[in-house]
Homo-oligomer: 656 residues x 2
């Protein structure tokens, strides 16, 4: 009763899209149309006005769009996202007495009733709008006030009832009454919800990962940024958008890892790029062997000229030689013997890595310094960051860090390298990560793939979590690739590129179908590039290179493949084959993959869920864009046979 809102009669519920009732923003990319739905209702039978409000980043003015009633007290409206950054959106609704009155008057007039009192009620409603118009400050107000006053007089006049009803139902009067509506008892969703508008690359991207250290053409020589520049034409020709490099900073000497992760490094061992920091510098410095800041800038410029963005790897951890260890010992946890706490997974010890102590007394100073690492590279022009192990740093840090950085640089993108439990992965996406690594690498059979990608693309998870599919990484050589031969590499590449609008490969190793693990049962590569220079003859990788080039070209030519939300799986009567489609407008793509790299598989594919029920079983023509072969299908089914010796998949374009 203390609450003076007692007269606000409209209820607004179930506003969608939302994440945790607005606790976190949803995500879209520039150019998207955002469709908003809401339940709005009140007691009784009065007319409701329901408006969708939105405002652009940095703008104070709400733009109002009337919401259309669709069914069962649900309303819908939409607007286009035309700028990067955070839009706000909300819904406002009120009971509009003029609308209710006008509607009732029509029914009373049709029943031939005496309307004298009703017309006076209408005149009173118009009179109160005159007052509001007089008190407000709308442009054109004087003319509006005059028109409203005239209508009020006409409604009160003694003229013929039929004429006064015409005044009452006049369309211009209705519009004026909407402009000067009484919103004093309106209900509004508050605080407003938010949507992050990202660059298009956030939704559709192909990542290529390489180690610059291995890019020198001179055997045994440490590669440089300049060497990477000379590889750019090939990478661009294959069709990649993002070139991602492991950390480029000075590497520590203390406890440096040797080849194959041994604890004793030899004098010439190059160490792990993730053991960051030496006397040379830390997270804002460049390993001298790779080049200078000028070389880095040259690489960035050359990449841009090929339409490629550079992605840096930010790993918040320090080698014992990192300058922070001396300048800010309080940022690390001290042990009772005066030493600094190194990373551990008891009983394993990682003495080459010092984690930051996010609970330290100067946690705010630490946060600011870490954010300044992103700021530094953003100032150098970097817009894409792959973040190492974000799930081992506190969630509040990421929300603050990413939100504040994107206020200044709304085109920044952050890829979360968190291979951990699902709720933690989704939480990181809620906190602001633009894209996320997934469990794709370990989803190899039909049931697993169907369940996982249905969850990622057909549930509310998709409002925040953008999957990025990697068939391999320098950390993960999956058992399926180890044992499946070249066909395994081919089919996993088709799945990554076709299931995911965002995907990436650890390129040089993939092109050569490298499949030797460090030891049986391990997912680590033998002679991993993480600990040594691995120069390769990429001309050996022509088959997978051709497939990669073709798949990337198909992705760029087909809008259906540039988003994940339309993904649908279709029945095919062989458990070792999977079929799925994506569509966008008239563009309809259908993939069928033999998941068994060892033997030919065949099955009947049901077409009705691909083409929709209206299609019935009319014949259609499809083209396999991998081979340019055409097929004619009739009777609502198609027989598909795939021999991995020949082809592991079809990528069909369907003409309707």
């Amino acid at each position: 009763m203390e609450d003076l809102q007692g007269r606000r009669r409209v209820v607004i519920e179930n506003l969608r899209p939302n994440v945790d009732l607005g606790r976190f923003p949803i995500k879209r990319v520039i150019g998207d149309i955002l469709t908003v739905e809401v339940d709005a209702f009140a007691d009784g039978h009065d007319h409701l006005i329901v408006l969708l409000l939105h405002r652009q980043p940095g703008s104070g003015d709400w733009i109002e769009t009337p919401m259309e009633s669709i069914y069962n007290d649900r309303f819908r409206a939409q607007f286009r996202l035309e700028a990067l950054g955070r839009y706000q959106y909300t819904v406002v609704s009120w009971i509009d007495r003029f609308h209710t009155w006008r509607h009732d008057l029509t029914k009373r007039a049709a029943a031939g009733q005496d309307l004298s009192v009703d017309l006076l009620i209408g005149a009173d409603l118009v009179a109160s709008a005159v007052q509001r118009a007089g008190a407000g400050s709308h442009p054109g107000k004087a003319a509006d006030v005059a028109a409203l006053k005239k209508a009020e007089q006409d409604l009160r006049s003694k003229t013929d009832q039929r004429q006064r009803v015409e005044v009452a139902l006049d369309q211009h009067l209705l519009e004026l009454m909407e402009v000067y509506a009484d919103r004093s008892l309106a209900t509004k969703v508050d605080p407003p919800l938010e949507v992050i508008v990202d660059p298009p690359l956030a939704r559709f991207s192909a990542w290529y990962e390489l180690f610059p250290r291995s890019c020198s053409p001179v055997p045994g020589k440490h590669g440089t940024f300049r060497d990477v520049i000379s590889q750019l034409p090939e990478i661009a020709e294959m069709g990649f958008d993002i070139l991602y490099m492991p950390p480029i900073h000075p590497i520590g000497d203390a406890f440096r890892k040797g080849k194959n992760n041994t604890t004793e490094a030899q004098a010439d061992d190059v160490g792990s790029p993730w053991a960051i920091g030496s006397a040379e510098g830390g997270h804002k410095s460049i390993l001298a062997q790779l080049g200078t800041l000028a070389d880095f800038q040259a690489l960035q410029k050359a990449a841009q000229s090929h339409g490629i963005s550079l992605a840096l790897d930010i790993a918040f951890q320090c080698s014992p030689d990192h300058p922070y260890v001396k300048s800010h010992p309080d940022w690390f946890r001290a042990r009772p013997d005066g030493t600094i706490q190194y990373a551990e997974n008891p009983p394993k010890k990682y003495q080459d890595i010092y984690p930051f102590d996010f609970e330290c007394h100067d946690w705010q100073g630490l946060w600011k310094e870490l954010r300044s690492v992103f700021e530094y590279w953003a100032e150098q022009g970097v817009r894409v960051f792959r973040v190492d192990n974000p799930h081992t740093k506190p969630f509040p840090f990421w929300e603050w860090c990413i939100t504040s950085l994107k206020q200044k640089y709304p085109d920044l993108m952050f890829l979360a390298e968190a291979f951990t439990r699902p709720k933690i992965m989704y939480r990181l996406a809620k906190l602001g990560y633009t894209q996320s690594y997934t469990y794709f690498t370990w989803r190899n059979n039909k049931a697993e793939i169907t369940e996982y990608f249905t969850e990622l693309t057909q549930t509310d998870v998709r409002e925040v979590f953008r999957p990025n599919l990697w068939p391999n990484t320098p950390d993960i050589l999956n058992e399926f690739l180890q044992s499946g031969g070249p066909a395994a590499f081919s089919l996993r590449l088709v799945l990554a590129t076709m299931l995911g609008a965002n995907y990436g490969v650890y390129g040089p190793a993939y092109l050569l179908a490298e499949n030797e693990p460090y030891k049986p049962g391990s997912e680590e590569y033998l002679n991993s590039e993480k600990y040594e220079i691995r120069q390769r003859d990429l001309d050996q990788g022509t088959v997978l290179r051709a497939l990669m080039t073709r798949l990337n070209a198909i992705r760029r030519a087909h809008p259906a493949l540039q988003s994940d939300w339309s993904l649908q799986f279709h029945p095919i009567d062989n458990d070792q084959m999977i079929a799925f489609s994506k569509r966008e407008g008239q563009d309809l793509m259908l993939c069928v993959v033999n998941l068994n790299p060892h033997s030919p598989q065949a099955g009947w594919l049901e077409l009705n869920t691909v083409l929709g029920e209206n299609w019935g079983s009319r014949p259609i023509q499809v083209t396999d864009l991998l081979t340019d072969q055409q097929f004619n299908w009739t009777n609502g089914r198609a027989y598909i046979e795939l021999d991995p010796q020949v082809a592991t998949a079809h990528v069909f374009q369907i003409s309707r």
Copy 2:
């Protein structure tokens, strides 16, 4: 960054049960066990303590229950609801460094590592607990502090490492460290959630509606409360818990409705009980023809002696003769001609009813007066109210009114008579209504019944909305009953009593299977008791009375039928037959109903979903409690045949 919560590392999400993230309380009845689940997780791999907190109505002290990890970062705990009113519950969680340390120490010890530094880390953790214990005010503190200090010393001592590890892993030390845990960075769900604990009748009740005006044994004479008293033994014998009477207040003379809702009443017409108020009084007065307040008290006392609660009908509207119209004309909407706005559904006019204007200037005065109506009758001992058309009064009013009334009278029950759109019906339940009328009356075929009752009993709707199933009311004689003959009355009664733990009937008309509508296509009764006295010879209704008595007895004997949440439908291969079960512990009840009142139906019932997969197809014995016939079923299926001339339904008790 301004937010000093940056070091709170635990995330708590998805706490269930909840309604709109805690905006509204959930509902239970006294004696229920409330099971709470939640996701809790943090960055990294530290140990989490997760506690469920609850407190009783009016108590300031939280009771803590450790939550058990169940899977995938989800935790569960429960507590018993032992008092009426509103309990609060919430979850608190923090990262516990002692637990993490103890766990790691075990692994390090097993690996035979030197633990000298680790034991000192543990000593420091114990030392900080000593500080907290010293600063706190727990009883028994001195002994605890001493024990902790001893443990700290032992951990720091120079004795054998194995002995010190024993100290570290001591169970009592662990318990003390839990009592004096560092909760300074704990995460807590705030504000807490709430659960309304109602009397058992809220979950399980049988309502009988009658018009006292028709209860006189003397033909043509207006019935009284004393006449109702003499009918109580029969009503109790049939097995009803609640006797519900239409409004008992003085009835207006102005625009009084005649028989069959005609606009001209004859001198001796009694009018509609919902046209409330005359010179005699209003909502706190009793129609003189029914008796005095003393008579009402006598009726209430007599009902109680039969285990029956009285339910009053509260209809917030006035006849033009209501005292409020003179004393508070500002509570009604004035028309420009000085008259008061009557109820309308244009072009229809209801001039005998003045609705309150909840948007009037003195809305707070109006609200308080309306609440005082409930208060008045509560002071007279009434605990159950059926509220007429709550959906035409503002939602904020109901939330305030019911919440504040139940603070004083936690055993009050409110039944919402809102036959309107689904979201509005659910909203009223969220606002505090204890039970709600449903669409049951219009759900007559198998698909409709299955869909509707699955929504009501197997979705989150059930956290707030308790369905009350009425096969008829004085306003609703459904077409199915009009045309289905006696079998329709029988089968709809079985459905109401077996589908719904709460149900009700407009008894006298139902017992006599009255099925004549006012006119074809209408759901109004011919010669409706709403407008005239209808004395009946209830001895004509022996068949339905026997069925009603039997069904009520079965309900009282079987816990499975006393709640709705276990409802499950089962496949039977005839679209005109429906099968469903309910269970509670070992009590398993199965109903099969022939939905066609005109012809015999037969079908095969699948038993595996009734009995569970473990049961396989072992033979079982079932007893039809309506006939006491026994059947033996084998092979996982049962053949059921129901001839409406003989029986419309089986109500099986299943012995396992």
